[in-house]
């Protein structure tokens, strides 16, 4: 199963990036092969809707789980709609987070949000 984690760098020793939409990188970790790849987050350049774009990246990579610090309402709805489980409040290194996930220590985000929509900023 593929797990996407928002990261500040491209190693397992990198710190988790607390943002989802505008994090630096995503580490896509395969829990079966124990291999991982780092992909640069193009959504960081999005003027608006970064969360949605980042969600698209992650979905296109086949992730079934997303682990991050914070996630916006649009991105959350999108991932929930794609049946992807989202865990928030992650901190520490990517390796720490993977271990916490395995030990069931992470907090799952499961509130459907009252989406405030967006200002539609350019």
């Amino acid at each position: 199963m593929k797990i996407a984690i928002s990261s500040t760098g491209n190693e397992l020793s990198s710190q988790v990036d607390p943002r989802f939409g505008r994090c630096q990188e995503f580490i896509i970790f395969d829990s079966e092969t124990l291999e991982f790849e780092a992909i640069s987050n193009e959504a960081i350049n999005a003027a608006g809707g970064a969360g949605i774009k980042a969600a698209q990246l992650v979905v296109d990579k086949g992730a079934e789980v997303v682990i991050t610090g914070n996630i916006g309402p649009n991105a959350f709805n999108v991932l929930a709609g794609a049946d992807i489980r989202v865990f928030v409040g992650a901190a520490g290194t990517i390796q720490n987070v993977i271990d916490s996930y395995k030990d069931g220590k992470l907090q799952e985000a499961n509130q459907p949000t009252s989406s405030p929509g967006g200002r539609g900023a350019v």
Binding site: A43, A46, A47, G48, G49, A50, I52, K53, A55, Q56, V59, D60, N74, N77, V78, G81, A82, D83, P116, G117, G118, R119, G120, A121, V122
Partner: protein
């Protein structure tokens, strides 16, 4: 002739000026149209009683995806620079508040699976303005109002401005600021009055507004509201930059009181009515 009334900073008195100007011009026998383009917070109607009111909804076209034809190819999301579309496992999700109604998604869909439907973003109202003591003086008034939570001011303003009757003297009450909504309001006007107040914020935002009008190549003059002798920086700035100050409305209790009661002060104070009419002559002279 189209005259816009704008300012960098909010709360400087645009609506006060535009309503008083409209009233004064009508008194001097001109045919006037007043458009309240501050669609996020229109309030010119407070000073005017509207008769023969009409209202209509304003729509923006947004995509609707036909799930039977859609193959989830992702072309629409690829084309959308605003990230308003997301390709989920079994359907395409759409985020209306990010959508700019550019039409790209429906145009480029290879299966013609996207059609456009109307989404209400606000309303336009119109009527004849009679002034707050009950008689019609023949101001044709119209306003636009964005629904709460909507952000697409420019398209609503464009629809409102379609009502412009070039045979009349058209006064446009613009929204504050110097970004897209203000620009949409003043675009195409023959002249713009920038309203400012004698404070550092007022001066700072006036400079931004001046920059904007210069880029748009719209001739303009400044009007200082709540003027007092103590803060002279706005006057100095205008002098240095060769910007005409068309009027100074002093900080006076009488004027403030009438305003707080929703009364046009040019109605109660005839010398001001004359002064506002002079503004019109001022423009005509400048243009020659």
């Amino acid at each position: 002739m189209i005259i816009s009334i704008a300012s960098g900073k909010g709360g400087t008195g645009k609506t006060t000026i535009s309503t008083n100007l409209a009233f004064s011009l009508v008194q001097s026998g001109r045919n006037v149209q007043l458009l309240d383009c501050d669609v996020e917070e229109p309030n010119a109607h407070i000073f005017l009683d509207l008769e023969n009111k009409i209202k209509e909804n304003v729509f923006l076209p947004v995509p609707q995806i036909d799930e039977e034809k859609c193959t989830l190819c992702g072309k629409c999301a690829e084309v959308c620079v605003y990230n308003a579309l997301f390709i989920a496992k079994d359907r395409v999700m759409f985020f209306p508040q990010l959508c700019h109604s550019c039409g790209g998604c429906s145009y480029f869909c290879p299966r013609e699976a996207i059609s456009e439907i109307d989404r209400v973003i606000g309303e336009i109202g119109a009527g004849d303005a009679c002034l707050t003591r009950g008689s019609t003086y023949g101001i044709e008034f119209a306003y636009g109002k964005l629904n709460i939570g909507e952000v697409m001011a420019p398209p609503l303003m464009r629809k409102l401005k379609k009502r412009i009757d070039e045979d009349k003297v058209v006064i446009i009450d613009a929204p504050p600021g110097t970004s897209c909504p203000m620009i949409e309001a003043v675009k195409g006007s023959d002249f713009c009055f920038l309203i400012t107040e004698p404070t550092p914020f007022g001066l700072n935002d006036l400079k931004l507004a001046v920059e904007t009008l210069k880029v748009l190549k719209i001739p303009f003059a400044v009007l200082i509201n709540r003027w007092n002798e103590e803060y002279f920086e706005v006057d100095s700035y205008c002098e240095k930059e060769n910007i005409s100050i068309a009027m100074r409305i002093p900080l006076e209790r009488k004027i403030a009181e009438l305003y707080s009661r929703g009364i046009l002060f040019s109605k109660e104070l005839p010398e001001w009515q004359k002064a506002f009419c002079k503004l019109f002559d001022f423009i005509e002279a400048l243009r020659k």
